[in-house]
Symmetry: C2
Subunit: 225 residues, 2 copies
Amino acid sequence: LIKMNNVFKTYVLGEVKVPALHAISLNLEDNEYVAIMGPSGSGKSTLMNIMGCLDTPTTGTYYLGRKDVSSLNDNQLSDIRNTKIGFVFQTFNLLPRSSALRNVELPLIYSGMPSLKRKQLAMDVLERVGLNDRMMHKSNELSGGERQRVAIARALVNKPSLILADEPTGNLDSKTGEEIIEIMQRLHEHGNTIILVTHEEYIAKQTKRIIRLRDGVIESDEKKI
Amino acid sequence: LIKMNNVFKTYVLGEVKVPALHAISLNLEDNEYVAIMGPSGSGKSTLMNIMGCLDTPTTGTYYLGRKDVSSLNDNQLSDIRNTKIGFVFQTFNLLPRSSALRNVELPLIYSGMPSLKRKQLAMDVLERVGLNDRMMHKSNELSGGERQRVAIARALVNKPSLILADEPTGNLDSKTGEEIIEIMQRLHEHGNTIILVTHEEYIAKQTKRIIRLRDGVIESDEKKI
Ligand SMILES: Nc1ncnc2c1ncn2[C@@H]1O[C@H](COP(=O)(O)OP(=O)(O)OP(=O)(O)O)[C@@H](O)[C@H]1O
Ligand SMILES: Nc1ncnc2c1ncn2[C@@H]1O[C@H](COP(=O)(O)OP(=O)(O)OP(=O)(O)O)[C@@H](O)[C@H]1O
Ligand SMILES: [Mg+2]
Ligand SMILES: [Mg+2]
């Protein structure tokens, strides 16, 4: 499903170059359940952004489902991002003055789903993440962990085959965090491919493969038997 | 230092009332080191905002240093917030297009410190949180955990006597998180009062008192001997 070959990502700030990723090569099959770990600033979100077609490598190639992503045009990329990939951002990226419900409906509006059906689907997934009685709150009228769960619900509502979740439990107490990981586990059993950035070892232990980054390189890549 | 008596906080959204805090009474002395824990949505950030003079109770009284906060005017409140309290927000609240250095200088600009001295102080505290080579990055050019550390640095730079940190390690790997807690520990030994919201038991165990919230009420309040 995912094939990266010798990917480099360097940010350029005026005269300064920030080498965020260095010689990253990896292969991920369909239906894998992967944790990405590493110190703050080691390149995890940068790697996730490239995998999620939100950013492009400086050099190197990235194949998603055997298509060379650098050969796709903006419309094709937008379509992949909205229908095939569910992305939970580290900083949520919700519309602050729209309700939780509206935020979760957005991917379904994009895919043209009729209004009654999309409301029902959005409500179902909000209920699954425990936000049944917070649906009408605007996202700036929610707690940090509630916003995080709206971001998770929005990523899942389209039932995307690839789920990229960047520290999805960072703002959650351990019980609520485990409920979220339970949802990820079930999606994995249903055939979805799940990639989680986490800094919690107990979460990484529940996945099937742990990739560790350090200073922009892959330090280790271990599959569970 | 902090005395809350029968504090209630209810948010009003049109016709809906959200009772975020219910009958909260607590006393905190100078130089305490307190953890506040509880499920997502239990009222922790709401409590912190009232303690930090960023919000007011719906009913009940709040004394800070024996002054009734509800009797203070805007200028007095602003002065307390900027010189006596250091607040690390759960969502950082940095200026996205200003550098890490500028963000950390802000409280010192407010207190009228001369430019050379304030740059030095800001650089020192950024170095202490491990951001020595990220000082000139704008905050939207930083990783999640780097932004969190800028928010921490900004809260500490004025050497405030009361530090309120709302989930300061939520976006940090465990090693970086421990370095931050180490800084808090040292400030506590120097006489500062520290209140941390955390959902990590290993962090709460290092404090001297754990207050647990559930559904807007204090469920337990335990001091270490
Ligand atoms: N501006 C607001 N308007 C309406 N309700 C709000 C507002 N801010 C927070 N709430 C509600 O008040 C309750 C308490 O919120 P608070 O942010 O204090 O929770 P918290 O304990 O910090 O949660 P978390 O661990 O998820 O950050 C939540 O259920 C939330 O939905
Ligand atoms: N837009 C940008 N411009 C310049 N440098 C950047 C930019 N975004 C990120 N960086 C730098 O690239 C490095 C990797 O960033 P990245 O966000 O991938 O880290 P991360 O592993 O996700 O960290 P965290 O655990 O703190 O979220 C960081 O050192 C960061 O300062
Ligand atoms: Mg990150
Ligand atoms: Mg909170």
